[in-house]
């Protein structure tokens, strides 16, 4: 049986998430929308899936390969724009309708998770965050390796480091290779994607931290999606590019531009802040 997956082109609605990757590749609780849907279609009996990608199809292909991970044959078909469901059926199912999964799973637009069909994902940052929260208790599936529930409502991925002085408040989801320093408070309703670094004393609640994002010492991320240096308040639907790497940045930026990421921050705060504890603004290199 065959199926079509349409990668969505959400425009500016969740632009901060799609700066470096198409939305179908953006992780939610460690895996991309495309990965979740391919796994789901495999359980429905699909053997062949055509992925229709208008946005950066080469990245989509790199993300899924040939589909052998799911026991599928996957082909990525570049398109000029996002097709509607009817357009996709007319264009790709014209002569062999019997070979396809029954509707609605014959053609799926990746604008929701299979286990949460009622929750839109890509219409706003608030929707993305709400879906991530709702998905937390459902995300551990039988084929998922490494994530364990440390205590009720607290999920931890492989090789995550949590300092003894850090506090985890359920519900929260901490992906693999995340690093949390002492004094940090994570939760409630917090998601840390892979390789996030939470520095000493930082607090993250009602928020989602994107992969490889550095959250600086004694900062507070609340009602937000932090994705590299982009900080989105999903409640107010406002966004800011944080200019100071010691507050918030991509860990890859810190590695690539150590001089820009470190020295100015030290100088500025030592110059202007006299009474706060020096440790509050000390620079720290995340482990590499």
């Amino acid at each position: 049986m065959k199926a079509l997956l349409i990668c969505p082109d959400p425009g500016l609605a969740v632009a901060a998430l799609t700066e470096s990757a198409p939305l179908s590749n953006v992780p939610m609780l460690g895996q991309s929308l495309l990965e979740y849907w391919l796994a789901h279609l495999a359980t429905l009996g699909a053997k062949e899936v055509v992925v229709l990608a208008a946005d950066r199809p080469e990245q989509v292909l790199a993300g899924v390969g040939d589909g052998t991970r799911w026991g599928l044959r996957v082909r990525v078909q570049p398109e000029n724009r996002e097709l509607t469901l009817d357009e996709a059926r007319a264009k790709h199912q014209a002569n062999d309708r019997a070979a396809w999964l029954p509707a609605p799973n014959d053609v799926v637009l990746l604008d929701h998770l299979s286990s949460l069909p009622q929750l839109p994902l890509i219409t706003s940052y608030a929707d993305w965050f709400a879906a991530a929260q709702a998905f937390m208790p459902r995300a551990i599936t039988s084929d998922r390796i490494g994530v364990r529930e440390l205590e009720p409502g607290v999920w931890i991925g492989l090789h995550a480091h949590i300092a003894s002085g850090a506090k985890l408040i359920a519900p929260c989801w901490i992906e693999e290779r995340a690093w949390i320093e002492t004094g940090a408070v994570i939760g409630p309703n917090a998601v840390l994607e892979k390789e996030v670094f939470i520095a000493r004393g930082a607090e993250v609640s009602q928020s989602l931290i994107g992969p490889k994002t550095f959250v600086g010492q004694f900062t507070e991320v609340r009602n937000s999606i932090a994705w590299g240096s982009s900080l989105v308040n999903w409640e107010r639907d406002s966004c800011v590019q944080v200019p100071d790497a010691f507050l918030l940045c991509s860990r890859e930026t810190r590695r690539a531009r150590p001089a820009l990421a470190k020295a100015p921050a030290k100088l500025r705060l030592r110059d202007y802040v006299s009474g706060m504890p020096a440790s509050a603004f000390a620079e720290f290199d995340p482990p590499r």
């Binding site: 004694f218 900062t219 507070e220 991320v221 609340r222 937000s224 900080l231 308040n233 107010r236 406002s238 966004c239 800011v240 944080v242 200019p243 100071d244 010691f246 507050l247 918030l248 100015p264 921050a265 500025r268 705060l269 110059d271 202007y272 802040v273 006299s274 009474g275 706060m276």
Partner: protein
């Protein structure tokens, strides 16, 4: 940038940016106008397009200077009308716990330091 004083309140308006480019001059200019009988410092951020760590540090430093030889509870530092992105920077650095924030009309309610 304009600095005016009226009825124990020092008001700062017309601040287009508060970052490494002007943080030092901002702090110096406002500190010059400080006095022991001040009851409030009100900084209007309605025209402020960008804020960074240096600018936020200047606010903290200014507050510390103003309260250095007096009861901190006797002086309020109030940031008014920050745009949503500027307010995000303030909150990321946790300064909303230190300063009173009065958002722009139509946005969320103001916060008082906790």
């Amino acid at each position: 940038m304009d600095i005016n004083r009226q009825n124990g309140t020092l008001s700062v308006t017309g601040l287009r940016e508060l970052n490494s480019a002007n943080a030092h001059s901002f702090r110096s200019a406002v500190a010059t106008a400080l006095s022991h009988d001040l009851q409030a410092i009100e900084i209007d951020l309605s025209q402020t397009q960008t804020v960074d760590g240096a600018g936020l540090g200047a606010l903290v430093s200014l507050y510390e200077t103003a309260t250095a030889h007096r009861d901190p509870d006797g002086l309020r530092l109030r940031l008014t009308n920050p745009s949503p992105p500027v307010q995000q920077m303030i909150e990321l650095a946790r300064l909303h716990h230190l300063f009173e924030i009065a958002p722009q009309a139509g946005s969320l309610e103001g916060t008082r330091p906790q």
